[in-house]
Structures are given as C-alpha cells and as structure tokens.
Symmetry: C2
Subunit: 341 residues, 2 copies
DNA sequence: TGATCCGGACCGCAAATCTTA
DNA sequence: CTAAGATTTGCGGTCCGGATC
C-alpha cells in the first residue's frame, strides 16, 4: 500500500511541494486560488501530514504526556482521573495534539517514563498530577527543561520559566464544608484525610484547622490515610470507638466516605441521625450508596479542559502563569443532618 | 539547550554516524570493541534516539492507540478500564512502545480519531475494545488496513490479515454463575444485561438461556440496560414488583449490582435472605457495599498485558491469531445464599 | 517591484553502498 | 576476499533564498 505524501498532492496540483506546504499551513506565498485548489485536492485524496516528518522538521511532536503515578487499583476506583483525562482529550483534539499516557506505581518510575519521553522528543510538554508537598519529580523535571502544567498549587518559591499551574481553591471548599456542619449544630468534627504527602491534603488539613478555630472549636481528630476503602473504614472505626466520638466526619474522597457509612451501619450508628458524613469528591458513587452522600462537587472534566488549554497555550509561546479553576461547592444530600446529640 | 544527536556521539567516539547507528541497533558492521565504546559513550551522555527521526526512517511510530468510545461518566465508574490500561502500559513499556489514548463519546468520533492517527502515521496498531455485535468501526478499520487487536471474540466470518483477538470465555463464566445459583436452590433467576449492542452482552445472554434450559428452567426475565446505576435500579424495581418475582438476579457489572442491593433494601427485600445477587464484574466496589457482592472475578490487568503483548507481536511480524484469556471465576461473598422461598 | 512559485537545504536517524586495509 | 568503518541516500515534511512573470 503506497503511502500518500505531500509530493503526490503537489504532482496532482501541478505545483511544487513547497507550495503545498505553504497552502496547507495557511502562510503567504501562494495565491488564494492555488491555495483552494491544493486544499481541495488534499481533502479529496484524504492526505494528512506524516507526524514523524513534521515533528522532525518542526522539532515539535504535537503530543503531550500525562503520567499517573498510582497503583491501578486506586486509579480504577476513583472516577476523578477518567473524567479529567476525558476533559484533557477533548481540548487537545481541537489543536490536533495527541495524548501519551503512562500508568506507573511510583514517582521513581514516573521520572523514568518522562525522561524517556523527553529524551526521545516524543512529547512537547507534560501534565503533572497528584503533586506532593515535597515532590521529587519537580526538581528533576525542571532540570530537564521540559514545559509543564502542574495540576495544583504552584510552588511558593517561584516556578520555572516554562511551567504553568492550574489549581482549585481546596481551602475554600473545606471551609465551606466545616461552615455547613457547624451551621447544622455540629461541634465535634473529625477529618479523614488523604495521602499526607500530597500537597492538597496538607492544604485541606490546614484549612480544616483554621476553619474550626474560627468557630472556636478544636478538631476531634485528623487521620491520614491512603485513600482506600480499607483505610477509610479503619479510621472511622477508631473515631467512633473513642469516648468523645465525633458527630460529623469529612472524608477526602468518596470511596472512604462510603466506607464510613458502611462502618457506621455495622456499629449501629445512624447516618445522619447520630453521624453526619461529607465526601470530599463527588461522583456517581455518592448517589449509589444509602444514604446518598453530601459531597464537595466540581466539574472535573472542565478542570481537565482548562489544564490542557493552559499547556497548549504555553507550548504555543503563551506566557506561563497560575490559573485558578472553579472552587468545589457543597452538594447537600442525605448523609448530613442537624446535630441531635 | 542544544539537543544531543547521533552525530555528537559519533564525534565523541571518533567514528561515523553510521557506525553509531549500527552499534546501537546491534547489527554487524562494527567491531565488538568499538560497539562497546560507542554504547558506553551514548549511555554516559544520556543519548536516546529522536522518535520522530527514527519513526520517519523506519516508517514505524513505535506507538499504539487505544480509543475508548464511551461517555466519561460511564468510564469513570467502571474500574475495568483503568486496570486494563495499566496492564497494557506495563507490557508496552518493555518494548519501548508508547500508548496514545482517546476518550470519545461514540463510534463515529472513534473512527475519526483512528483515521487521523493512521493517516498521520502516529500509530502502528490499535487496540479495539467494547466490540459491538455489528460494529461499524470494524469494516472501516479493515479498509484502512491498520493492524489491530480486538478485545473480544473474533468475528465468525474470518479476520483481516493483520488482526488478532484476545478474548475470555464469557459464556463459561455466566454458566458458572447460573450453576452456582441453581445449586443454592434458586429456580426463578433473572438477568440484568449490559448494552444489548455489545458482542459479549449477546454471548452472555445466550449462555444464560442455555444454562437455564440445561437445568430445565426458564429465565424470569432478561433486561437490557446501559450499564448505569440508574438503569440497574430501574430494572431491579421492575423485576421485584412482578407477581412472580425472582429469587436471584445476575447483573452484567458491579455498578448495577450495587443498584440492585440498594433497591432491594428500599423495598424491604432481604439480601441474601429473599434475593441473591451476583455481579458480573469484580472490583473494590463489590467489597464496599453491604452485603458484599458475590461476583465473577478475573485479573483484568493481566488481560491488558496479554492484549498488548498480542499487538506487539503482531507488529513485529508475528502471526495473527485468536488467543483465549483466563475465564472469570465466581467469588462467593455475602450477597448470595440458599433459596429459602 | 512585488506577488507567486520553484528548488533545495535542512531535521536526525536507519540502512544500503562504497572505501580502505 | 573480508571485516571495519565512512559515505550517501531516503524517510516526508518545513521553510528559506531565489527566480519568474
């Protein structure tokens, strides 16, 4: 099967390949009539520029990378990632940019993967998710000089030249949840946090403490976890077993909140009569359990769209920056109620 | 930042670029001593071949594509896809093959996406998931001449030259589930199926009928759905409202089985005392609900590994074929019990 | 003189051919 | 004649310097 190249188009149109290139890239140098003729022929023959040839010549891959550094199990249960990726994709498609994906278990392998991509010039830029407070990937990525968008807060010490950040105000969201619970009369509130190494976990925990303090309250407890159902269940069991048990618990994702509901039922603790529960992520899962879960909800797909747009703009020479996405807002469902104790 | 090229290596080693190319690709033409010297220098300088240049020269992208043709919501809730992708990835990494991903809502756009990839020679081959019984993508893909691996049964009429298939015996799995339920004394069994257009839905439904018939039973009902929680809930409500209601229901995925449990509880139907429930997919979700769900379980990640391996072998000139993966086996948990009615 | 178009030099690698000892 | 290595060509585009009308 002979492949179609630019010279086939040139031949059919009776022009040089240079003219075809100009016509197709919308640059001056060919008359409008010729341009239209070339475009028509290319479309008719179904010709598309060879990505490798173009990439070689332009020194640009028209591809960006996304590395997910988590175990497949964790990724699978959290709908967040698929929604985010779908958003990223839909935006990238507009600029004919492809998405390269890697799923690896840890940061070391994540660095390896990105290093390979960049050394081989397979990607022009990177989307970095799941930022850690002290993230081993960042200095390495910076030294590689690879353009990137961080999904999360930019680092306080200033960012490398070709890095942007897209973030959401986690502190505000946590504050809203606390205010909501306090408004319902709760005073003994606990927090089941996510991975303590993650940047946004620390931000949320700090915001939790601040919000409680503002209400003149002190947290019953803040328990760190690894986001799994088992960890959520264990944390809940401990919290409910204590003498001064909480009347409300916030969880850093929906999976653990579900575990909380399950443990409460086993222990005969009524939700929401004796215990109110707030999930930190929203998904179909929150409406699948009984009672349905009050959750901090946001448009994750749009988050992906904005992230992709920010990266593409950066690669097109746009100026880097830090862009704030919408803040999650609380969606009240059945798992929260007034404090009756 | 000057980029490292093969000629930098050649210069440092004091040989021609041809010699470097031969040395790095393990082909004859250089002495062993020179080869080692070149290899050492390349490794020391951290050189990696430019993917575009290599791709252009070899007419091979060292990249494969995977298109997910479903809504982001559906994908997010089903852990299957992320696990599968993680498996695919881990295998592709071994041969330095990259994975291009697309998430699109329907088959029409899926065809577009693949057509673009192939026309631009961005991919060497494709992984095709979620096969339909009459799949509009297949004839188009075949006419494009793109090598592919079908995840699912090969078509009865014979396969294109450079297509393979990796499949799992859905019929056997469904049969095991029916046998298990019948063994528990159930005689009124219903099936809540997935998307009727999907190949494996039809295979499973046929196997369900056959298994029931073998036991001298006739199904209470087979209800088609779209895999969503809402559809699972609606189907369950209808089944339980009927005069001759089933004592056991099998669902084509875990999300719908969860919906089934939820609806049963709302209607005051005890699980498993009055109703046994079997989930067609296994995931953490099955252990997150109460009661935990008996499910048809399999190693999805390994499925992804095998699929990737099959595609890579095909691209390397291996002979195409149809390869059977392991069959899902039933894992009994709390949602099934003896028929007490 | 200027708009329009041609020819050809690259991009970085693989691989075939040519040269040298 | 053979092994080791140098030279050259081609992959399919982009884009610059010139030539033409």
């Amino acid at each position: 099967m002979k492949r179609l190249t630019i010279s086939d188009i040139a031949e059919r149109a009776g022009v040089s390949i240079g003219a075809v290139s100009f016509a197709l890239n919308g640059r001056p140098g060919v008359s409008e009539a010729t341009r239209q003729r070339i475009l028509a022929i290319a479309a008719e023959m179904g010709w598309r520029p060879n990505a490798a040839a173009r990439g070689l010549s332009e020194s640009r891959a028209h591809t960006v990378g996304l590395v997910l550094a988590r175990s497949a199990d964790t990724l699978g249960v959290e709908p967040f990632f698929m929604k985010f990726i779908a958003g990223v994709e839909s935006e990238l498609a507009l600029t004919r940019t492809a998405l390269l994906l890697q799923v690896v278990p840890d940061h070391a392998r994540s660095i390896e993967a990105v290093n390979d991509w960049w050394a081989e010039r397979r990607v022009d830029g990177l989307i970095v998710m799941d930022l850690w407070a002290r993230d081993a990937r960042l200095p390495v990525l910076e030294s590689m000089g690879l353009p990137a968008v961080l999904v999360g807060r930019p680092r306080p010490g200033g960012m490398p030249a070709r890095w942007s950040a897209v973030w959401s105000d986690d502190a505000a969201a946590v504050t809203e949840a606390v205010d909501f619970l306090v408004g319902l009369g709760h005073r003994r509130i606990a927090r089941v946090a996510g991975l303590p190494a993650l940047e946004h976990t620390q931000v949320r925990t700090a915001a939790f403490h601040a919000a409680m303090e503002r209400h003149g309250l002190s947290p019953v407890a803040v328990v760190d976890t690894d986001y799994t159902w088992a960890a959520g269940a264990r944390a809940t069991r401990e919290l409910l077993a204590a003498a001064d048990r909480p009347t409300a618990i916030t969880y850093d994702n929906d999976v653990m909140a579900t575990a909380g509901v399950s443990v409460a039922r086993q222990l005969g603790v009524g939700v929401p009569q004796e215990l109110s529960i707030v999930a930190g992520d929203d998904s179909q899962l929150c409406e699948m359990v009984f009672p349905t879960l009050t959750a901090l909800s946001r448009d994750v797909q749009a988050y992906g769209v904005h992230t992709a747009r920010t990266l593409v703009s950066l690669l097109d020479g746009g100026s880097p920056g830090s862009f704030q996405d919408t803040t999650a807002r609380l969606v009240a469902r059945e798992s929260t109620g007034p404090n009756l104790i």
